[in-house]
């Protein structure tokens, strides 16, 4: 219901950030985000607004957990 895309922050200018996915860039508003992102962070973008910063450590932790649980090699 709420199509939202993880995009990488490549520039920040007050309330507006440039974000990128696959080489495509767009501007998004930061009015709604609850923790200011840094350059290189991924944010979840919905309807032109960044709504959350994505936690990379948490993501890696999750993947590692599954890999270990399933006895797969780390990628």
């Amino acid at each position: 219901m709420c199509l939202a895309v993880p995009m990488e922050v490549i520039a920040i200018n007050d309330k507006i950030a440039d974000v990128e996915i696959g080489g495509v860039t767009r501007q998004v508003r930061l009015d709604l985000i609850d923790a200011a992102p840094a350059l290189g962070d991924f944010v979840i973008v919905h309807a032109g607004f960044a709504i959350r910063r994505m936690d990379r450590d948490d993501a890696m932790e999750t993947i590692k957990l599954f890999q270990e649980g399933l006895g797969l090699e780390l990628i």
Partner: protein
């Protein structure tokens, strides 16, 4: 005058000057220069004839313009019947007030595209409509060419066991156009793939005359084109999602807008369906040409689920790949 006037479409002296200054200059050749009611052509054997009107907005876009596109589009449709495109006609509908510089750029681009595609523009027509009665410029091209193989490739000839090839990345043209739209604007390092495929098809058929189907996945994209063929030939088509080549920027742009690259238009790509034993030879010919360097096999023709297209996902699941319903719209959910 720096803008197109209604008088230029009157059929009188103003029209004649306009045609001479612009169209003869860029598109001229012996046949066109005759200026009779119709062009006299010599053609032998079965011929392929196709028509398309071009209304693309914007008229200049990354990788091309409405002029070159109008040549490529029709040349490609003629080529898809296994024909060597030879002659084009073109009909211009111009909006009063169109800047002459824009028009000159478009006509020059058509001339260049026609020379590159080795087709001659043999007849033309120009209408000018009042400001507001058209959007800048519309171009119709109609093409004709001699069919090189017998039987000619056709959407009706896909056969169970055939392999499905595509000549390169899907969706470049569609995304390049979308990236220019006001209100959606994003920056994408993608240019239209608009190109004439006549030469490459000629090489392909010379090496592999037994091709069953050729088709350029324009409006409606790969998914719609495959569905058309499945319907015409009453076969199933099964393709592997992981094998379909899509530029990361096209994938990225589509993910933002909620669109599917398999429904985006291509203007310089084609798909080729042919017996499995000839697939490698065909891929070799395609890959040797810059316009086919990204050619890959993406699937095969099946007896199962006749009339439908099945997509095998990277996960190993299988789902329907339906036809486009109406135009794809950007969405948030």
């Amino acid at each position: 005058m720096d803008k197109v006037l209604l008088d230029y479409g009157s059929g009188g002296r103003a029209s004649h000057r306009f045609v001479a200054d612009l169209f003869f200059k860029h598109l001229g050749n012996d046949i066109l220069a005759r200026m009779d009611d119709a062009a006299v052509l010599s053609l032998t054997g079965p011929v392929a004839m196709s028509t398309d009107s071009f209304v693309v907005d914007p008229i200049f876009f990354p990788g091309g313009d409405i002029g070159s596109l109008a040549v490529h589009g029709t040349v490609n449709d003629v080529a898809m019947m296994g024909a060597r495109p030879l002659y084009l006609t073109c009909g211009f509908i111009l909006e009063e007030g169109l800047p002459m510089d824009d028009l000159a750029r478009i006509v020059a681009s058509m001339g260049e595209a026609a020379r590159a595609a080795r087709v001659r523009i043999v007849a033309g027509d120009t209408k000018v409509v009042p400001r507001g009665a058209a959007d800048k410029i519309f171009i119709n091209t109609t093409g004709i060419g001699e069919i090189m193989v017998d039987p000619a490739p056709s959407g009706h000839r896909a056969a169970v066991g055939d392999v499905v090839l595509v000549s390169g990345n899907m969706g470049d043209h569609g995304l390049a156009i979308l990236s220019t739209r006001a209100g959606l604007s994003f920056d994408a390092p993608v240019v239209s793939d608009s190109a004439s495929l006549g030469g490459l098809v000629g090489k392909l058929l010379a090496a592999v005359p037994g091709v069953h189907v050729l088709r350029d996945p324009t409006r409606g994209g790969l998914a719609t084109t495959l569905n058309e063929i499945a319907g015409q030939s009453n076969v199933g088509i099964e393709i592997n999602e992981a094998d379909i080549p899509v530029d990361p920027a096209v994938a990225g742009g589509c993910s933002i807008l909620g669109l599917d690259p398999l429904y985006l238009a291509n203007e310089g790509k084609f798909l080729c369906i042919l017996p499995e034993p000839q697939a490698q030879a065909a891929l070799a010919v395609l890959r040797a040409d810059p316009l086919g360097s990204g050619a890959v096999a993406i699937g095969r023709v099946t007896a199962e689920h006749a009339g439908k297209v099945a997509m095998v996902t990277p996960l190993g699941g299988k789902r329907l790949l339906g036809m486009l319903e109406g135009e794809q719209l950007p969405r948030i959910c």
